[in-house]
Amino acid sequence: MNKVVADAAEAVKDINDGAVIMLGGFGLCGIPENSISALIKKGVKNLTCISNNAGVDDFGIGLMLQTRQVKKMISSYVGENAEFERQLLSGELEVDLIPQGTLATRCMAAKYGMPAVWVRAGFGTEIQNGKEAREFVFQGEKNNYLLEEAFSADYSIVKAWKGDKFGNLIFRKTARNFNDPMAGAAKITIAEVEELVEPGELDPNQIHIPGIFVQRIFQGKSYEKRIEQRTTRKRA
């Protein structure tokens, strides 16, 4: 039951060139900082990254773009990232843009063992191209849905607030985001946590991810937790 590995380097050591990887986080919030650093140090290439965003030029997945380790991004919004734009326009990088809810649901589908899901997003748009569409009546309302496949990923790398040695995880505030549906959605799930505790220290009623979904866990270190848009108000 003990899923603990020493550090990020050990957690990612068998991730090879060409792997398909899910990476949790929304913007820079809740991203697996330690694992991203370890992947860069390891120098693994040709990765397909399923991640809602692509980081910024000098943080998050943006760092893996700088080192040209990413072959393809599957994201809903790639934001402001000059190197990303350059690689995309030059054809070095493939990008598959999909609706955010569809992205989350295709992760969840994999985690729940559902091979495909019916969603409304994208019907009647270019997102529909090549996809099966069908009309369903649901709660008395007729609508059109697209069939979207569950993701088949090799690794899912998530970041949690607290975790125990059995792999049980708890997230904090909006850092939960994609980390939750991605945890358990790939063949191997790696979790890095801010605080690793003994089994029994987490309230079993408050666990967001039961340990069965996690294969490796480690205590992360030196979290920067960079803020992308620092918005504040003045004290009255």
Binding site: G27, L28, C29, A121, K173, A175, R176, K225
Partner: protein, 218 residues
Amino acid sequence: MLDKNGIAKRIAQELRDGYYVNLGIGIPTLVANFIPAGVNVMLQSENGMLGMGPFPFEGEEDPDLINAGKQTITEIPGTAYFDSALSFGMIRAGKVDLTILGAMEVSEDGDIANWKIPGKMVKGMGGAMDLVAAAKNIIVAMQHVNKAGESKLLPKCSLPLTGVRCVKKVVTELGMFDIVPGKGFVLLERAPGVSVEQIKNATAGKLVVEGDIPEMSI
């Protein structure tokens, strides 16, 4: 003529007590500043939060607490956090009462285009396609014409679509419009100082003007 705050203010009058509301980036975000007294709404942020509060005081920013625009925010009493899949589950199931978002183009059938300009770098649709596909009630806040002076209220959208037949209402600097499929943009109110003639001239899609059109009070 309304400025951005004016558009937000007018849309805020459409809020009803008890509404769950999702606000897009840009003018829609400003709506939160004009919620009428006595109207309690819960703001949904699709990255996983219900009960979005104002920006934090300086020095109290929490990197684990951001909105869908990646801005630091705060929670309120009664806030709930959840994951992205459940967030879009509640959106898809129609639990969000009102979605307010910006657009590049809207058609007289309620189609909306707001994510892609061919030939330009595409940043992605984010949650917009999910929101427009499922929200029960969508209000678009936008400028009536683009920088080239061309109407953004069209017979058909020229840009790649975000969603089809979904927009219910549009508020621009010139007025407020219902979109009635098969009928067109039904003018409900003129912005202060704006004539029906001005609106007609700025609207490429089918404009429906029935009876006297009141000037809006904001």
